[in-house]
Symmetry: none
Subunit: 215 residues, 4 copies
DNA sequence: TGTTAAACGAGACGGTACGTCACGTCTTCCG
DNA sequence: CGGAAGACGTGACGTACCGTCTCGTTTAACA
C-alpha cells in the first residue's frame, strides 16, 4: 500500500519531496509502458528517476504498489461511465471502451501485469480491490440505477452480479487470450448481460439477489 | 512448453529417466501446494527432487511450464462435466464445483498463480490456452448442446459466449477478490447465465452469435 | 578533529549547546564500550543522543574524531606516570597498568579500534599522534629523566627509543594477539627494557642516540 | 578464513575454478596496491576480475580474508631471514628490510590496513596470527638459536620476548606514525635489542624467561 | 523587548556497497 | 553417456549508513 495513502504529516523534519515522487512515478510509468510490468525493476526506476533506491522504498513497499500508483490514475481517467439513455447502450459503451484500452499496443497489457502481481501480494491485493476494482464498480452503479428507474430491469436487481457478468467475461478473455477481445464481442456481451438482467431476476419474483463482500 | 510434448526418442544412448521426471513433478507439486507458485524455485525443486537443475531445464523451459505440468492434470481430473438433466442444473453444478476447488485451502490459489505466470510468458500462455482453457471449454460444450437439444436455449446459441458468461464472473471474483466466491453466488450466477442464454439470443431473432478464436 | 578546538564565537545567533555536545559524547561512549568501535554509527549516536545528525557533523568531521573525543579523556585519566624510585620499577608499573586496562572486558579493545580507524584517516591520524600518542610519551619522559639523574642509565639516552622499546611490544601483542598480555610479560618486558637502556647506549660510548619526529 | 585452506574436495559437481580464483586475487591485489585496503570493495573486485560477487563470497567470507590471501604471500616472500654471522647483524638486517618495505610507496601501508581489519574480525584475526604473525616469528627463530650457539646471548633466552622487542617498536612507529621509520632507527633498535638480550637475561641468572601463547 | 540568525530535532535526499538469492548455463565426475 | 552436483556470470533484491540538505522550531545575543 502506498504510504502516501496516509496523508497525515505528523512528524517534523524535512517533508517528502513532491519532485522526487513525481520523478519516480514518471520513470516507473515510462518503463512500464515501454517494456511491460515484468521489465520494471526498482533499480531501473531509481536510475531513470535520478533517485536513490531508498527514496522509492520510503514511499512504496513493493514493485507492485509503485506500479499501481504509476498507472492506475491514468487508467481510471480514460474510462468514464457512459450515459447513453438505455441500459444496453450503457453496457455496450462500457464494454467497448474497455476493449479498446485493453487492445491498445502501449499499456494494453499493464492491467494484466498488475493482476498478476496482485496474486502473490496480499497487501497489494487489498489496494487493488479498494482503489481500483471497487472504485470502478462504484462509478458504474448509476448504469444499473438508471436502468431500474427506467423500468428496464427489475427493482432489486443485484448490481454486483450485473457488473460481474459484464466485466467477468471481458477480463476472462483478456487474461486467458482464448478468444478475441473484439468490438463485436463487446456488443454481444452487452446484449446478453442486458437480457440476463431483464429476465434473470424476474424468475425469482420479488426476491432480491444478494452477494456479500468478503475479507 | 514441456518438451515431453515431443515424445519421440530419436537419439541413441541412455533415454530420459522416468524416475527423474516423476521426482521433479512430485517435488514441484509439493512445493506449489505448500507455498504457492510464487515460492516455487527451480533450485528448490532440484534439491527436493534430488535432481540436477539441468535435468529440469532439459525437460521444461520455464518455471511456469513445469508448474503447469505438475498441477494441471490434477485440476482437470477434479472437474468433470456434469449432466443433471437441465441446463441451469448443469451450469450450477459446474460453477459450484469450480467454486469449491477455488476455495480449497491447499491449492486453491494455484490456478491464480499460473494465470499470473502466463501474463509474462507468451510460450506458456499458448500452452495454457491450448491445454487448459480450451480443453475445459471443449469438455463443457455438451452442456450447451444438450440444452439446445432439449429446447432450453435457441438453436445457434453461441457456446463461447455462454461459457465466458459462466467462467468470466467466477474467475473475476477469484482473481480480484472483490466479492465472495460463495456457493450461493454460483447458484445465482448459473441462474443469470441460463436466463441470458434463453432470452438473449431470441431477442435478435435467428441471428447466430459469433466469436472468432484469436492468435 | 573536533571543531570545538576553535572556541571563538564570532557569529551571532544561537551558540552551540553544551547539552547537545555532552549527549553526543555520552551516547558515543556507551555505544563504543557496549559494542566496540566497529558498531559505532553516526545514525546510532544521533538516535541514542536524541540529536540530529547535523549536530554531530557540526562538531566532528568523522566517526573516528568523535570516538576519539568520546574515549580518549577517560583513557588518559587512568594511566598516570608512576614514580616508584627506580627505573625498572617505573617501567614495570607503567607496563602493568597498561596491560590491565588493555585486558579490561569493557573498553579494553577500544584503543585497538581507534588505531584501526587511524590507518585510513590521515586527519584523524594527526589528532591521534598529537593528542594521544605524543601526549602520553611526553608525560612519561620524567621516568627517563629521573633514571638519568639517578645514574641508572647513561646521560644522553634516547627517551624515544626507550619508550618505543616499552610500548612497542605491548601494542604488538595487543594488536596481533599472538601471545598473552599477561602481568608477567609486563614485568619481564620492563626488565629487558631496563637492561637495554642501561647497556645499549654504553656500548656506543658517549654517542647520543637520535630519532627525529616525522610528518 | 579462506576456504581454500580446506583443500578436501569431498563433493561432486563442478570444482572451483582456478582461473576464477586467480582472477579474483589479481584484481584484489591491484586494487589494494593502487588504492589501499580501504578502497577495496567486493563489487570492485568482482567487476575488475570479470566475476560474480557470489564467486568471491564462495571462497572468502570477508573483505579482510580476501585481502589477506591477495597480499600476504607476496609480503612473506620479500622478507627472508638473514644470516649475517652476528646476532646484532641479523637483527639489523631484519629491521632494515622491514623498514624498507614499510616505507615502499606501493603497498607500504597494506599491512597497516590488514591489522586494522583484523581488529574487528575475530575469524580473520585467527588467520592473521597463525598464517602471518606466527609464521614470520617461526622463521626468525634461527636468529636467536644461532646467537645462543655462538654464545652471544644466554642459553634459555626467551625468543618470544626478543622478537617482540624487535618487531614491537617497528610496528609501533608504523601504525602510530609518531616518529620516522628510518634506516638509522632500524640500526639503533637492533643494537638496543641485542644489548637487552645479552644483558637482560643474565641479570636474572639461569632463570628462563617464559611467555605462553594465548587463545 | 523585540528582532534575528544560528543551532536545533528530525529525517528526506542521492549514493555506495553490502551480502543474498535465483536465474539459466556450463563443467566435472560417477555409475 | 545420462545425470547429480554444483560452480559460473549475471542482475536484482532490500538494507544499512554515509554525508548533505531542508524543514519548522527554539533560543540566545544584539539592537
Amino acid at each position: 500500500m502506498p504510504k502516501r495513502a496516509i496523508p497525515a504529516q505528523e512528524k517534523r523534519g524535512r517533508p517528502r519531496s513532491r519532485r522526487t515522487e513525481t520523478a519516480i512515478l514518471r520513470a516507473a510509468n515510462e518503463l512500464i509502458t515501454s517494456g511491460g510490468l515484468a521489465d520494471l525493476t526498482m533499480e531501473g526506476v531509481a536510475e531513470r528517476a535520478g533517485v536513490g533506491k531508498a527514496s522509492i522504498y520510503r514511499r512504496w513497499p513493493s514493485k507492485g504498489a509503485l506500479a499501481f500508483d504509476a498507472v492506475v490514475g491514468g487508467i481510471l481517467a480514460t474510462q468514464p461511465t457512459p450515459d447513453t439513455g438505455s441500459f444496453e447502450g450503457d453496457l455496450r459503451q462500457t464494454a467497448r471502451s474497455w476493449v479498446r484500452s485493453a487492445n491498445s499496443p502501449r499499456g494494453g497489457r499493464t492491467v494484466a501485469g498488475l493482476i498478476a502481481e496482485v496474486q502473490s501480494d496480499p497487501d497489494l491485493a487489498k489496494v487493488w480491490r479498494e482503489r481500483f476494482v471497487s472504485r470502478i464498480r462504484q462509478e458504474r452503479r448509476p448504469i444499473i440505477e438508471r436502468a431500474i428507474a427506467r423500468g428496464e430491469i427489475p427493482v432489486g436487481s443485484d448490481p454486483e452480479m450485473i457488473l460481474d457478468l459484464l466485466y467477468g467475461p471481458l477480463y476472462h478473455r483478456y487474461l486467458n487470450g482464448h478468444l478475441a477481445l473484439s468490438d463485436s464481442f463487446a456488443k454481444e456481451l452487452a446484449h446478453m448481460v442486458a437480457a440476463a438482467a431483464a429476465n434473470g431476476a424476474v424468475v425469482r419474483g420479488r426476491e432480491v439477489l444478494r452477494s456479500r463482500a468478503v475479507r
